[in-house]
Amino acid sequence: MKFLDEYRDEAAARKLVRAIEDVATRSWTIMEVCGGQTHTIVKYGIDELLPQGIELVHGPGCPVCVTALETIDRAHAIASRSDVIFCSFGDMLRVPGSAGDLLQLKSHGSDVRVVYSPLDAVAIAAAHPGKQVAFFAIGFETTAPPNAMAVWMAARRGLTNFSVLVSHVLVPPAMTAILEAPDNRVQAFLGPGHVCTVVGYEEYEPLASKYRVPIVITGFEPVDMLEGLLLAIRQLEERRAEVENAYGRAVRREGNPASRALIDEVFEVCDRKWRGVGNIPRSGLRLTPAYATFDAEQRFAVSAIETQGLQRGRPSPISSGPARSRLHSTIASCSATAAVVACRLI
């Protein structure tokens, strides 16, 4: 992992902090979009290094936290079945549904398994023809290609016992919702580096010009984050509002064409409900009709499960004040409770 050390170097970080101090002449409020970026801020104490007046607000980009309560309840209904092996990314296991989390379900005897790759779930399906294997396909554009690949592979292998519970979300509609909120305070964005690795950043250019907001595509190491902040603050100070790519080692303007083609084959855009936010039009992905047979909601007839009362219907104002104590108590290990943060921040 030698290549990471230079992006965690204290001297390089200090140099960028000094440059930010030199450039910033007033207070600015900047949102980092990704949960992974928020994690880096907390893990390395980035917010403490910044000059007074530079406020970071934490964005909606944690797919684990924004997965709708009713989707989690549907997952539980599927995972509780004795004929099902339910596969999920690790950090979904602690996210609470209406009646506990997937870890509790596992402790009560359900077959819930953590996989690192959706393709592992396909392999489990192939190895257990007598069982139904359902994979919890969550995530932003970043996990869409591997999740699409799992469905594509299952189709190619003719697996009839594999399905996916899809709860994919998209970043640009969420950013639009934030910018449209009447009490929005966000003046610039650190854009989602990994999302843009897949889909590129063309889609962000109209946002930057329409809302006059700088968007700097940013990576996830401390030096990446500080560089993203420097570029964003420089744009704000110079009254520019452009999309800049500060994550050139991973992101191209057009993204990864092969991944985009695969996403387009397997998924189509749909409306999606976000936990703590509510419904955002055209902010999600669902399976295309050609792959509808892999839809776990249909296969296990769980679409009727709706959750009343706990969703917030309307974007709420971004909370003000120092974010640090709240961050420490809620996001540090992300997962379940961080849903609360997403609620507060959009």
């Binding site: 992974g36 994690h39 390395y44 104490g45 401390p222």
Partner: protein
Amino acid sequence: MIHHLFLPVLGNEILSRLEDQASCSLRPHAEATLAFTTDSFVVRPIFFPGGDIGKLAVYGTVNDLAMGGATPLFLSAAFILEEGLPIDDLRRVVVSMREACDAAAVTLVTGDTKVVDRGKGDQIFITTSGVGFVPAGRSLSAASCRAGDRIILSGTIGDHGIAIMSVRENLEFETTLESDTAALADLTRVMLEVCPGIRCMRDPTRGGVSSALHEIAAASHVGMSLSETAIPVRAEVSGACEILGLDPLYVANEGKLIAIVPRDEADRVIEVMRAHPLGARAAVVGEVVDEHRGMVVMRSRVGGERVVTMLAGEQLPRIC
């Protein structure tokens, strides 16, 4: 579970201290204090690079005794075997336990074996209990740490947990990463010789360094302040943690210890540790502070600070 179920029913003056071992006074029968502990071992795979479940079962219990400043003496071992376990595998485990007992200078003096139906166990479960004695006048306790004390780690963290996970996830490195499984009683002996006033020691097994420090911080009503750059981590371990979405502070160790040592004696302790094969990479990684009591705070490598949170249950790989 411990606080809500076991302690309310079974708690007593000794159990409720929740140290790694029970220190039971033998007075008026004898001057020394009896140290007593028990631990169960379930691990998959049962053979892994650098060790196996048998070695783990001996060293784990020996280490729990050693952390209390005890000289480990006698062990018991109870085996739960799943029907179908190859006898050759069992023999390998038992031979390994014998070697481990010899290396740790303890004697296995009693045992038990049960066989359960296939599917009712997972190859082999081992429970070991151990007794040792603590010399009169020695008393180590997680509740005795004070601001200014130094936090010492005996070596690189996360080796055991990542060795196990790399086998489970088929991760390959240029060199084979081995578990650090080892008996620490000889290391603690030399440490206590030069510094009888060591406040407390813990072997950061499940839950890793973070959990052990949280327990000490809570018991002593103090804060723990760490420096990320001072914590020794092998390149393979930090690389694997990046890939797996894990934090080495929460990954298990089986041959490392944390010692809380009075400030003025830290240099002397480090010196004898580094002269010992199990402490070659020992380092002061932080200090005990009056601020943020009950919390562990770490200065990151880029200069900011973060709260190292207490792990609730198993560490789960992050996608976010």
